[in-house]
Symmetry: C2
Subunit: 180 residues, 2 copies
Amino acid sequence: MNWKTIATEYISKHIYFNARKDTCQKPDGQIVDPYFVVEMPKSVCAVAITADDKVILVKQYRHPVGKVLIELPGGFIDEGEDELQAIERELLEETGFKFDTITYLAQTAANPGVLNNYTNLYLATGGQKISEQQLDANEDIEMMFVPIDEVKKMLLRNEFDQAMHTVCLFYAFDKLGGSK
Amino acid sequence: MNWKTIATEYISKHIYFNARKDTCQKPDGQIVDPYFVVEMPKSVCAVAITADDKVILVKQYRHPVGKVLIELPGGFIDEGEDELQAIERELLEETGFKFDTITYLAQTAANPGVLNNYTNLYLATGGQKISEQQLDANEDIEMMFVPIDEVKKMLLRNEFDQAMHTVCLFYAFDKLGGSK
């Protein structure tokens, strides 16, 4: 079922936004033209639990949907980092916490019809505060510390809009034995 | 925490791809420039179960990730349709099945950091085949009929890559009483 890319042209090359227009050929010879792809780096996020059993959630404004969302900490992998280094760094930067264990849960693709990237999902436990938040220029993030059971209720009430984070929460609760 | 959009410019206006570059102002007055947004219509998908308790899955090639993925049936809302009409139409077009009941589960945003759309998630039950698949030009979809318990195992083994569909499956199993 796989397609061949026979031509490609960038319609945006920008540090924050790479998009290209491909011409593809299907196995039956049919041409698909254009097919638009937005290129994004691999990303990571985690259900991050403190040593006193609170889940660290982050509230931030998401301009594309025009809403303040309750999300999990996470972000893009930097050049030269592996996924585990990235989630450790992102957790430290966004929350100021360091975690005893970080367990890989699953991977997910937010929208493989238009975005080319995957996100690695983790469960981090035993979090201890070791520094203050160190946020990027556009980041304006408010932390919330919520008991695990309450987060599970929020999940079942559909209070997490961001699909990758919802997926991470379901796998984390499965791992924690709470949703089996 | 909400931003004001003070300027906007389309970098792509195409029937299959609308992207814009916004200049925004944060509540503290700071300017964010540029912020890129990809505009997509609202979409729908469903865990669709036949009258003989099989889940209808669809295999299709997803060019941005270069892989054949196992997904749920679904698609974009057409002009003038509501969400329920859209999921009924998509299920009929992609599978040829009509369902006794279609229950709303939740909504999700695939990636609210770059995409502006939401997806409504449904559970459809009592499916009966009433016609053949009627696919769009670029659609090349292979149907699979998988027992509910096996789909749950596939979900926990991380065999569904597409985040919105993974979310839909978790909510559907919660509704069906299998993951409480």
